[in-house]
Symmetry: C2
Subunit: 343 residues, 2 copies
């Protein structure tokens, strides 16, 4: 049984094991530095569908199917799915995963959804409530732009702080046990909503940085660990602007993560060459980087302990139009590479 | 530690206790049959705010604050909140609960959100991951109508199958232990997405009935219980149309719940007098009926064992406009009234 440390850091007693994972991406992702690591890349951002929203549901379906196939798992092997996405009513998940007929618990954490889903899947597996649980999310540049900012046809000019929503999906399946070498979830930490008062939907990094700083600080304290205990600390999609802000905020508490921090939004794309301005973003950004970079690197033995703190801007265009701000949130997962029993 | 029975029924080993709860409602709710049971009713559906969306955030804040006050609890006493609502980006929750600074895990299950949140809060408390956890949700007639159907100003005529979204919020706080007599969560069961192919956003009852039938049938099987083991079986907001359909679907499997079934959507309003057509609906419907009717009746010793199966239509207006259907989901919670230790 997991143990509560402090307010909301949970130490797994029977650490859930990553059984399988898959990443799916679109055309821009296929030109990025991680292109050769994706399980499936489509040059057609519609994925053969007739709308961006339907394309996104297809991505999630494909990501989960691929993860299940890679792990040799059937629908009946999974007790529960945790999934959500950026589309209104989490359409990518509820429409994308309906055909699986697997018990489904919908999650909403904006771009923090991958770590929120993983957190919940870990808790269910560790507690014995699920033998196997899935965590899935996605985002699509075209469906997100028209929902959150402007329709693409409008040709809006993107400011330098703007980020590029990844057209990608990631799926991870956790289980009670699995063969070594393996990646395990050792800790999870649920974040609080932090609202720094940002009102610009083109400056999401700044809206999310305080939430990331808050969850990291609290996690180090409650788990009695320090940045030096981790090979890498990944944030979701703070991009360039948000990452700098994160360092500044943590330095106020004398925490320095700059020598081991990487932002998924700055890994997925080549910032200069691909014209993504401040970096990548979207639920699918951290989810796909987890599945096509972080987990493979860990399984290759190159990282032993990794923090993934996906970050979400709980942006409501309606509220922003009414003069309100953009609250942020970040949830954290600590992954550990175990080469053998007791490692 | 909870025990997994079958696919996704969890039997609590240390049943979480309902420590406190509160219901908040608007003007129509104040004219309904449950009016004198609400903790707070506002004749002003704007709740003093300048938009329907902001009014909804105020309702959630008020519901949680009232529940905390009634239970003598401070912010620091709660380890985690599970909340969501019908607004895009779950605005009611993320904007409404940001000031509490309590670790927050966002949930999306449309109108099934109350039982989904309660399910997760129960799992976290039972597993020892939270000493106390909150489950909160809301809906607002005016914000929901303009988001899902038509702006009120349009004066659209409502067909007989249409339901009336409740302007209400409910909050429940669960804890590891509490004084007798008390209500405990004994079982929870996560539902699957069922899509009966409905495309009419004014016929949500029909879209949700198969999901309710599915979760009830599976729960009875996995928990080895029958309808006769429960004093009452409440569904969320199937309304008149959906309830009839539910009986028909269950009768195919020789399950008869009609003598002990009530639908929250048919309790909150007086169908004839209040002109709500097929009944009430919305996340706030089952949440407020739970908090101002079901739990008080249980604590008064009138119901011993109760099932709450809130039902959600995972309706995406965008997908329906693109010719797609409305998938449904339902999650189930079994509440038990314990008069004394070992009861």
């Amino acid at each position: 049984m997991a143990k509560l440390c402090g307010r909301s850091t949970y130490r797994m007693e029977r650490p859930p094991v990553v059984l399988s994972f898959a990443a799916v991406g679109g055309s821009k992702e296929s030109q990025g530095p991680l292109a050769d690591r994706f399980d499936y890349l489509s040059q057609d951002d519609l994925f053969g569908a007739d709308s961006w929203e339907k394309a996104e549901t297809k991505m999630q379906r494909l990501a989960l199917k691929t993860a299940m196939n890679k792990g040799g798992l059937k629908k009946g092997d999974l007790n529960v799915l945790f999934a959500g996405d950026l589309l209104n009513q989490c359409t990518g998940s509820s429409y994308g995963l309906r055909e699986f007929m697997i018990p489904f618990l919908g999650v909403y954490g904006a771009c923090s959804t991958m770590s929120e889903s993983l957190l919940m899947a870990s808790v269910f597996v560790d507690s014995g409530l699920a033998k196997r649980a899935g965590a899935i999310t996605s985002s699509h540049f075209c469906s997100a732009e028209r929902q959150y900012r402007f329709p693409l046809e409008y040709g809006s000019v993107r400011p330098p702080t703007a980020q590029w929503t990844a057209t990608a999906s990631g799926a991870v399946i956790l289980g009670e046990t699995g063969p070594f070498p393996r990646v395990e979830v050792r800790h999870v930490c649920a974040g609080v909503i932090e609202d720094p008062g940002i009102t610009d939907a083109n400056n999401m990094g700044a809206a999310m940085a305080p939430a990331a700083a808050c969850v990291l600080k609290r996690y180090f304290q409650e788990s009695a660990t320090a940045p030096s205990d981790y090979d890498h600390i990944f944030t979701g999609d703070l991009g360039e602007v948000g990452s700098k802000l994160l360092y500044e905020l943590l330095q106020r508490d004398h925490i320095d993560i700059s020598d081991r921090h990487q932002d998924c939004g700055l890994i997925l794309f080549d910032q200069q060459r691909q014209d993504v301005h401040a970096g990548g973003s979207g639920c699918g950004c951290s989810a796909s980087v987890l599945c096509c970079h972080i987990l493979p690197e860990m399984l290759a033995g190159r990282y032993k302990d990794v923090i993934l703190a996906a970050t979400g801007a709980l942006l409501s265009p309606t509220m922003v139009q009414q003069g309100d701000t953009i609250p942020g949130i970040s949830h954290l997962v600590h992954l550990h590479f175990a080469e053998k029993e007791g490692d």
